[in-house]
Symmetry: C2
Amino acid sequence: MTTTENPVRNGVDTATLFATIDAVKADPDLAKFQFRATNRWISGTHNESTIHHYHGAKQEMTHREPFRFDADHPPVLVGTDNGPTPVEYLLHALAACLTAGIANVAAARGIALTEVSSTVEGDIDLMGILGLSDRVRNGYQQIKVSFVVRGDDPEKLRSVVEQSRRRSAVFDVLTNGVPVSIDVDAG
Amino acid sequence: MTTTENPVRNGVDTATLFATIDAVKADPDLAKFQFRATNRWISGTHNESTIHHYHGAKQEMTHREPFRFDADHPPVLVGTDNGPTPVEYLLHALAACLTAGIANVAAARGIALTEVSSTVEGDIDLMGILGLSDRVRNGYQQIKVSFVVRGDDPEKLRSVVEQSRRRSAVFDVLTNGVPVSIDVDAG
């Protein structure tokens, strides 16, 4: 582990970050994680997820509190707007993953950040999910992320964003897809 | 539009649902939506998204309030656990989309629901995002959804879940991927 005069940079504890990477390098099983969400239907398109427990670093882990999130459709989509739509949460997840990566990569490289903000836009044609066209896909047709990053030299900042993209879990899932299986206990 | 004695079923206003589908059938431009999230970095891996405005049905629309969500890494991943990780939000989005679809499809088919609950598990090997292996992908290797659905006849309920999967926007994005572009204003 390397110690520096200022191990916390951009709010990232770089000493712990490097120590964590070293620990995983020595024991790759520490890197196997399982994340989980539970969801319960409330009424109509309104439902609520809880995110609390997960598995990682060879043990069961618990977030410091159960995080709960409502999802719903707005009235224009025949819901009651008790929360964002499910597809909007995808945009949030993408911005959050890339932004966390930017902070980590910048800290690891000793690059100062003063601002990271972004807007994510996803275009979707609901002819798909409404069952009105078999030629229109159900999901987003494209997603566009626009970052504003301030701090160090612009070229360094661009390189940090690019490295975050290259190592983003959410970017990978959204652009490459992932196998999803669905089991049903009906009765 | 068909009216029935009980147009609200499982909390779904089926009369409005069918009227909406008819309106979109008559004017497909109503189906073109753009959803958005804005995000700002707070410190380290902690950042916050706001979901408020969107475009749909040929006009700018606004959720009834700005919905805000924190994302962070837990301490084991060198964060401060101010919210779920970005990848956990993907699991929530998937459960929420499938569950809303189950409620809508069941209502449209006149099938009663008394319970819909689910657990979503995503397996991920962090050797990828930590940059320790080029053979391990950054994102989830697989996602498993387990539903418990109660109400009408089990075979009907299974068919409802299957139809929801076939028309789920989030299931489509997660399994098939979507093009994502990233612009950077650095300075």
